[in-house]
Symmetry: C3
Subunit: 135 residues, 3 copies
Amino acid sequence: MDTTTFDVRTGGSFACVDVTERVAEWVRDRGDGLLHVFLPHATAGVALFEMGAGTDRDLESALDELLPREEERWAHGHGSPGHGADHVLPALVSPSLMIPVLDGRPALGTWQSIVVVDPNRDNAQRTVRLSFLPG
Amino acid sequence: MDTTTFDVRTGGSFACVDVTERVAEWVRDRGDGLLHVFLPHATAGVALFEMGAGTDRDLESALDELLPREEERWAHGHGSPGHGADHVLPALVSPSLMIPVLDGRPALGTWQSIVVVDPNRDNAQRTVRLSFLPG
Amino acid sequence: MDTTTFDVRTGGSFACVDVTERVAEWVRDRGDGLLHVFLPHATAGVALFEMGAGTDRDLESALDELLPREEERWAHGHGSPGHGADHVLPALVSPSLMIPVLDGRPALGTWQSIVVVDPNRDNAQRTVRLSFLPG
């Protein structure tokens, strides 16, 4: 199994970071197989959705409503106000995602981008692990 | 890696389409391995839940409440009113699902069905990609 | 493909059961590959989050709000009051999770635990299936 990691900067606010290009570059010339995208973090997820048409902002506002950042709601007591919500996120937006690769290209739909979703204000850098199982 | 695609009709309203039988047919005689079910679409997901006892309607009403179809809520500006919600869906209901296969059969629980969840009123046909990694 | 199952007791109330140690023990000495964690159940999920700092309780309260256990909300008519919510859960918290394994160890982040999330009051025992694809 080939595996690698790279870092992304997610900054000090809610962030959606499109990593599609970096992922596509890594699988180039690998033929067919399954690609695993994984975040070794407890307060972020990775998802497939359309970037560039407002969905990143829509996801942020939806998550703010689904998991409100009111400090008194959360038992988790560390970090910035509302950080408890960040720890619930990966149960809903998983840090693990599998993608088919055909002829060295992620077999994504036209509007699918691979996006690191990071609501955490306290952690500005994230690691992404890619693993490839050839078919 | 063996891979194939097939199409499902999801129609012009919220749809849950049970694809368990089609998937089971495709893995028959494949022995042991892992099956990947993938939708190359930005406004649909694939999930495992019980069909036939009301959960499809319950999921629709839950999603309508979690991601309300009010046009003014969403930054995404294309499509039918509320279409912005459809674009957030795959962050919560992933278009990627892995299932163990044993002796040519999906090793599902008694009440688990493989279901394409499509809230999108604007796209009546969907493609499902199956990929099999033998063990 | 090596595969096995083990049982966990989740009891008669909402439960988050940390299975990280049992999983780690099973992959020891397996080298590199991808590990699949799967629940053959229609009313439970498996997630990666931090145990021991309140997030299990935060997830319970978040799910109680997102999928309220009011009997009249749900079309699903079996089981204890609110059991319809349990059947929607796996669409949001998937029963399928992939984890990279490096040198016989799950390549998890410091705060990630593998957790069986079971809101179902009516089913006190669950089966976990592990499958390993060597790389």
